[in-house]
């Protein structure tokens, strides 16, 4: 499309109009709040709030929905950091180092850092959007079933490799997740697998129920049953809200370099924030000189996935706005809402209604800044959660977990599934089995299986699938490397210290 600067600035001015600024602010605030609740991620936030846009002008509606999406991305990491209970798949990576920071008494700093990382990730990605939307959209089209399969298997292996020293436990966790995804109707053959005649199970188990169960319910059970000493539970000290120079300088380059990775993953239809943040976290750990501090409250371990998943959420709009293809669950919901409002996002949008497209892109940029302000102001309020006595806090988390679960499928059966996964989460914590491989496997398992089968059919075999394109080969090599290199490195460094 080239950058049409006239429309760009016109869009900027429209986005700055009082009415639209108000929508950006409202959407951002609503999104942040909804995003903070366990189980209510961006897709649910947008879907639940769609009725507000009925009767609105379509540009404003797009701006409002975009802001809600964005706000939910910012809000998602709040509960990850404070309570170790991510609201959505893309906020899982924020628990890895965000929660340890909280335990070290740096909750305020963790929240600030995550907010700034989101701003940087979002801004880098918006710049990428403005200059590169079209070439990148055609890049995304290169991904066929074979390429997707290898990308997905790389993501899985990268996350398994995080469980350094005990990869077996990581594999067990991943396999459990893959087993969970076999439940439901098999899309290739239409066969019902492990549904036990229950129509509700035919669509499989929603990964959000698994996330809420394993994290929120599991965390509460663990704290109640295992940690007896109440004083040990939460650090009273929530620390400064402003980050130190050291935290900033350690996080700065990771935030900058992970943004493009998240952005590229976000453009791929179907991939999205969960995969982006996991890949960013694991690659950052590999390249970092202080990789061994990851998982123990390393600031860059929080900043890189947070930058990445916000960049991914901007990337997801590229296929939507340039080709009319929703790149994520959330953009699919937004697409549905826009069609009802009479706006057809797609290849003709930039030609027919450039002002709508550019107003929206500018609103994303303004929204980022507004959200940083909202989120920094909220920090003082949020850290008080940590001072809430456990006997009040845990019941509230449980209630929210059940509400969040109900909004996913409007079904009581999900409550039982939630409790089962709560117990699984508890056991995994006791046995010290990492939960991230399980969650990721549940999120991408079906997609991986279906892409494998399609690739196998269209390339007539595994070898042909592997050599289908340079992209497949690249991800296959990365997969092998991610499993073996960490082991190799640790052996090498061990050898060095021994000699």
């Amino acid at each position: 499309m080239g950058v049409d600067w006239n429309s760009f600035f016109e869009g900027f001015m429209t986005a700055l109009s009082f009415q639209n600024l108000l929508f950006i602010f409202l959407g951002g605030l609503l999104g942040t709040i909804v995003g903070m609740l366990p189980g209510l991620g961006p897709a649910t936030a947008v879907a639940v709030l769609i009725p507000i846009t009925f009767g609105m002008d379509s540009t404003s509606a797009l701006i409002l929905l975009g802001a809600i999406y964005y706000g939910a991305m910012y809000g998602g990491s709040r509960s990850s950091i404070l309570l170790n209970t991510p609201g959505d798949g893309s906020a899982i990576a924020a628990t890895f180092d965000g929660y340890p920071m909280t335990r070290k008494g740096q909750a305020g700093q963790a929240l600030t850092l995550a907010t700034l990382a989101s701003l940087i990730g979002g801004t880098v990605a918006i710049a990428g959007f403005v200059f590169l939307a079209n070439p990148l959209a055609s890049f995304a089209l290169q991904f066929g079933p074979a390429e997707y399969f290898f990308l997905l298997i790389f993501t899985l292996s990268a996350v398994v490799s995080l469980s350094k020293g005990n990869m077996i436990k990581g594999f067990v966790s991943m396999l459990l997740g893959l087993i969970v995804t076999t439940i439901g109707v098999d899309s290739q053959s239409g066969v019902y697998r492990f549904t036990f005649g229950n129509p509700h199970l035919s669509e499989g188990i929603d990964f959000l129920v698994v996330i809420i169960g394993v994290y929120a319910v599991g965390e509460v059970l663990y704290n109640i049953l295992v940690i007896k000493d109440e004083n040990q539970q939460m650090k009273e000290d929530v620390g400064n809200s402003w980050i130190t120079k050291e935290q900033w300088s350690r996080s700065f380059w990771p935030m900058i370099r992970q943004a493009p990775i998240g952005f590229l993953v976000g453009i791929l239809p179907g991939a999205g924030g969960s995969i982006a943040s996991m890949i960013s976290y694991t690659t950052e750990q590999q390249v970092s000189k202080k990789g061994e501090e990851f998982g123990k409250g390393a600031p860059e371990g929080l900043a890189s996935p947070e930058s990445s998943n916000n960049a991914a959420s901007v990337g997801a709009f590229i296929p939507l706005l340039t080709m009319g293809i929703p790149g994520s669950g959330t953009t699919a919901v937004i697409l549905g809402a826009l069609i009802m409002l009479g706006l057809q996002p797609g290849p003709m949008l930039f030609q027919n209604q450039p002002e709508v497209a550019w107003t929206f892109i500018n609103s994303l940029f303004i929204g980022n800044i507004v959200l940083v302000i909202i989120n920094i102001l909220l920090i003082g309020l949020l850290v008080r959660i940590l001072k809430t006595p456990p006997q009040i806090l845990y019941p509230i988390i449980l209630v929210l977990a059940f509400i969040g679960t109900y909004t996913l499928g409007y079904s009581i059966i999900d409550f039982f599934i939630l409790m089962i996964f709560g117990v699984i989460g508890l056991l995994m914590k006791i046995l010290n089995i990492p939960v991230a491989p399980l969650i990721l496997a549940v999120i991408i398992g079906n997609m991986m299986e279906q892409n494998f089968r399609m690739a196998f059919v269209s390339h007539d075999g595994f070898l042909q699938m592997l050599t289908a394109s340079p992209i497949s080969i690249l991800f296959a090599v990365l997969t092998v490397a991610s499993v073996f290199l960490p082991a190799l490195f640790s052996r090498l460094s061990k050898g060095r210290t021994e000699s």
């Binding site: 079933p145 899309s187 929703p326 009479g342 290849p347 279906q450 399609m454 269209s458």
Partner: protein
Amino acid sequence: MKKYFKVFPILMLSVVLVLSACGNSSGEANYPDENVELIAPATPGGGWDATARALQNVLDEEGFVEQNINVENQPGGGGEVGWQYLSDQNSHSLSVNSSLILTNNLLGQSDLTYEDFTPIATLATEWISTAVPSDSDIEDGIDMLDRLKEDPKSLTIAVGPALGNNDHLSFVRVADEYGVDVSELEFMIYESGGDVLTALMGGHADVATMSISESLEQHQSGDIEILATTADEPIEGAEDIPTWQELGVDFTFPHWRGIMGPPDMTEEEVAYWDETFSQMVETEAWQTVLENNGWQDYYMNSEESREFLEEQNQMYEDLVETAGLTD
């Protein structure tokens, strides 16, 4: 004071009478006398949800129904969960439906079928397109069918999100009419219509079958090429695309959406909705809904819908068998 007490019951009675007369223009029973529940057997954001919410908007804003109309999402099992729920409700609950009410049963995935409900109306339809990537060497629809006739496995066909849906079965129908061995066709099943489109534009599938509303704009921008549609007449604004009938394969295939109620609704209740919907489809507001969603008007009243469902059920039964989906 006593006087007033005597007058009061009479006053009350007349108020009730007047109200009931307003509530129901046909002057029969007082239906609907509580909130009307419109079931969308899907999550918010999908096609069924869009239909239900559009109906809610139009019926409410144009003042057709005095009572409140609420949309109730009951997702799961391709409509099964929502329709199970509907079958236990009273006549103040209605649900959106589509051909899945027939195929779920024919594919052995549900015990419920159209006969377990009261047909209310058929409202709108989409037509289905067959498309190829813009750089494909397939010349036209007939060329594609010829290739498949020669070797059914020579082309991969993208469809989503499941076999047995309209997009899939309409393709089976056209291929079958042309004499292709449809049990040998190689379908690639994608998770959504958007993924089908991506696969086609990226050249990862040779052919795709999907709703026109999902493919038309990409056709107009030259990203893909629609070979033919299942419509009964050329699509407005895209008259260059032939219908299969024009290409000589004699059939049409609507992807319709309608409304049905729980079993055992009374004649008066059905008549109420016949009157309401027949007026609603004439409104400007409903025409806008059709236009925004790329739907065509396909209104049939309750009686016509009942016959239509029977006829469709027969067609789907044959088709599901031809496609080799029952074994």
